[in-house]
Amino acid sequence: MQKCVIELKNIEKRFGPVVANDGINLQINRGEILCLLGENGSGKTTLMNMLSGIYQPDGGEIYADGKPVAIRSPKDAFDLNIGMIHQHYHLVDVFTAAQNIVLLDEDGKMDMSAVNSRVSEICSKYGFDIDPKMKVYDMSVSQKQTVEIVKILYRGAEILILDEPTAVLTPQETDKLFAVLRNMKKDNKAIILITHKLAEVMDVSDKVAILRKGKYVGTVITRESDPQKLTDMMVGRTVSLNINRPEYQNPQDKLIVEGLTCLNYEGVKKLDNVSFTAKTGEILGVAGIAGSGQKELLESITGLYPVKAGSVRFINEDKSETELVGKTPGEIRKIGVGMGFVPEDRLGMGLVGSMGMTNNMMLRSWRKGKGIFFNRKNPEKLARKIWDDLEVVTPSTTFPVRRMSGGNIQKVLVGREIASNPPVLLTAYAVRGLDINTSYAIYNLLTDQKMKGAAVMYIGEELDVLLELCDRILVLCGGKVSGIVDARNTTKEEIGFMMTSVGGIKGGDRK
């Protein structure tokens, strides 16, 4: 049996003017874990989507077992035993694990007991932990991911592509996943792991292929490399991994949240008795597994999410308190409570994608002034200032922000939100999808605001960043506050445990 199963030569892919992939070469071998490393937007997912038949390459060749092939559809990919686990899962909620797995079967017959035993067999072979009879809606994110992987294996995949599988997992779940991947490698499967987390690359992979801005940089053997070298290859130059964290003198309470409880439209508790205080001159980090109530927390503070119980009090300059619960965002603005909010969904909530920078600035000021006409002069001035100060790349202030790159979109949004130096600044995943340079620019902007005396809240995904950027970290777990820790005196592991169980290690739920 040949070792190399799939070879990509000179692959090219364009989306309109955007070159997503250019001259990519890749060798995928049996019994090997290959990491595809690159910053967000470097073309990793695009490349793998071509391998799994979702996109067609615009140029280059794909060889399977040495023969040239064209992968026109996901079905062609399956026929070549290629299976991909996407970032967003494709599961039927009301079906059991086993039912979801056999969805892929074509022969129409369904002998569930045979399926169940086959699924159990795959699970025990590789060390998966899943009950075939469990319904998907009862599953945690990591269990859903397991179902996706088993589904692909059940179908007989030899080549597995996993797109950022650890983004939604706790450190403990990640370790479990990696153990499974190592078992699969022993079974002579070829595994491609898309990621941008260096620690994971070093931990699990045999080889690393690096992409930068759509171009192929090179492939290195993991044990002959180190994180610094890989970072250099990934970003093209040496970057410092230190985030500046000055200390603010004499922080004061600014926002007091007490017993905040929210239900979603199905009546499920998204926030459960959340209490904390945000202080001036402080970045309060919020950590938690995706969907632990982060989004609801910020939206309920800003009046966008219905609150069931509890209170959110804003401390005014003269120490008087203003209750925010029960007010709409418009009313909060009207009574003069200054709150900047960088929401998670930039184009769906923070900005208007079809409008240019100027009109987006107006989202915060359109009501100002008398009469029926709006004032475009000041927003235009602000747009030009942000354009210059934050080095936004755009042809003009009327160019639709939707067509800007992710980093520039975020600069426009953050720039607008900090423009008025709000005493409270709430940010959700402010650096998601941004390259390292822009991420640091954003960190610096937040730190500047903190030093100007703002109470900043930062919901983040990467624990390393939270530990270096924030002063305190609030950990959410299933809508409850699992604990609030001093970011200077804690560890990733401690936060990891708090993310999975309320109270963390002290809660006694350590496995």
Binding site: Q56, G59, V69, R72, T302, K334, M349, V352, I372
Partner: protein, 362 residues
């Protein structure tokens, strides 16, 4: 690229923004294609296509009288397109312009019928206009309210409201407002309730042209217009910016319906001189095409509405002069619209055939 391999025959790729000259070339090409395709039904009907097209143009534009007829067709079309533009900008699919025109016309007619003999002309006409606007506004406000409060489907709701309004006219025609018993017709309004002519056409055209400017300003320079545009892009962004989405929806629907109501007033007071159940006559639907083709730009609407009016008047002439069946004329206008709408696809996407990828890349 290895062309022996079976790539898919056709692939689509999103284009970069094209030069305006190319965009217009594509649009003109689509009209030419439409004219060529339109020849097929004419030939099948046994007529000479070139002569037929000549007759269409002649019938719409060759004499002042014909032009007046064409303009008369364009007025309600343009007015209604202006009316629905704010709704469509808000992505509120108001396809109930037909009903809003009709209901506005009903209320307006009520004023003409009950007060037509006792009031002088000018105040009567103003009162009719205001009544029409309120009537149309209320008819549109109802689905707006239910959408804002209960998130009902506005498309179905506004559509159903059309049939109710038309049903009310049918009832009035045969009942309380019937003229001579058995005619099923409402008598002509008294002269005081008729819009005066300017340049041989009822003066509604002046009102509509003023509206073109007003709507343009409203959509582009007012706080209301900004709110509407933000909601159209994302309701969540609007809420984030502190807008009261439900209120803005109801307000915009009322405004849209009010303009439809004014169109209804002009139709009964200017064009027809009375009310009948066919008062809107499909204008509410054709106006959607006008609004769409002009991409909600009010000045472009003038051009598109004029063009559709020319096609409409032209095919009517074709019907009488060459005794071509009405359906052939309809097919021609249908093909024309189809090509014009379809060409937007080619402006946004390019098609790559198998084996041509190398050429396309360069």
């Amino acid at each position: 690229m290895n062309t022996n391999l079976k790539m898919p025959l056709i692939r689509l790729a999103k284009r970069d923004s094209l030069k305006p000259s190319v965009v217009w070339a594509i649009r003109i090409a689509s009209v030419v294609l439409a004219l060529l395709l339109g020849m097929i039904p004419i030939i099948m009907a046994g007529k000479n296509p070139f002569v037929s097209y000549g007759i269409m143009i002649e019938g719409a534009l060759s004499k002042p009288g014909y032009i007046r007829q064409t303009v008369k067709r364009a007025i309600p079309l343009l007015g209604t397109a202006l009316a629905i533009a704010p709704c469509f900008k808000m992505k509120f699919w108001n396809i109930g312009a037909e009903g809003q025109i009709t209901f506005g016309a009903i209320i307006s007619s009520a004023i003409a019928i009950y007060l037509g003999k006792s009031l002088p002309s000018f105040p009567l006409l103003v009162l009719m206009a205001v009544a029409g606007a309120i009537g149309g506004g209320i008819w549109a406000f109802i689905p707006g309210y239910f959408k804002a409060k209960y998130n009902t489907n506005e498309t179905l709701f506004t559509l159903m409201m059309n049939y109710i309004a038309i049903g009310i006219v049918r009832w009035l025609q045969g009942g309380p407002w019937e003229g001579r018993k058995g005619t099923q017709m409402i008598p002509m309004f008294p002269d005081a309730a008729r819009l005066p002519n300017v340049l041989g056409i009822y003066c509604g055209w002046i009102i509509i042209l003023v509206l073109v400017v007003i709507i343009h300003v409203y959509m582009n320079f007012t706080k209301h217009g900004y709110e509407v545009a933000v909601i159209g892009d994302s309701e969540n962004t609007a809420r984030y910016a502190g807008m009261n989405v439900g209120w803005i929806m109801m307000r915009t629907m009322f405004l849209s319906g009010a303009i439809c109501g004014i169109v209804g007033w002009m139709l009964v007071s200017g064009a027809n001189g009375t009310l009948n159940s066919d008062v809107a006559g499909g204008v509410g639907f054709t106006a959607i095409t006008v609004a769409w083709l002009s991409q909600l730009n009010s000045f472009a609407m003038v051009v598109i509405a004029a063009m559709l009016a020319v096609i409409g008047k032209g095919s009517a002439t074709l019907q009488t002069k060459l005794s071509v069946p009405a359906s052939v004329a309809d097919i021609i206008s249908g093909v024309l619209l189809f090509c014009m709408l379809g060409c937007e696809f080619f402006i946004n996407y390019k098609i790559i055939l198998r084996g041509k990828s190398d050429k396309e890349v360069q």
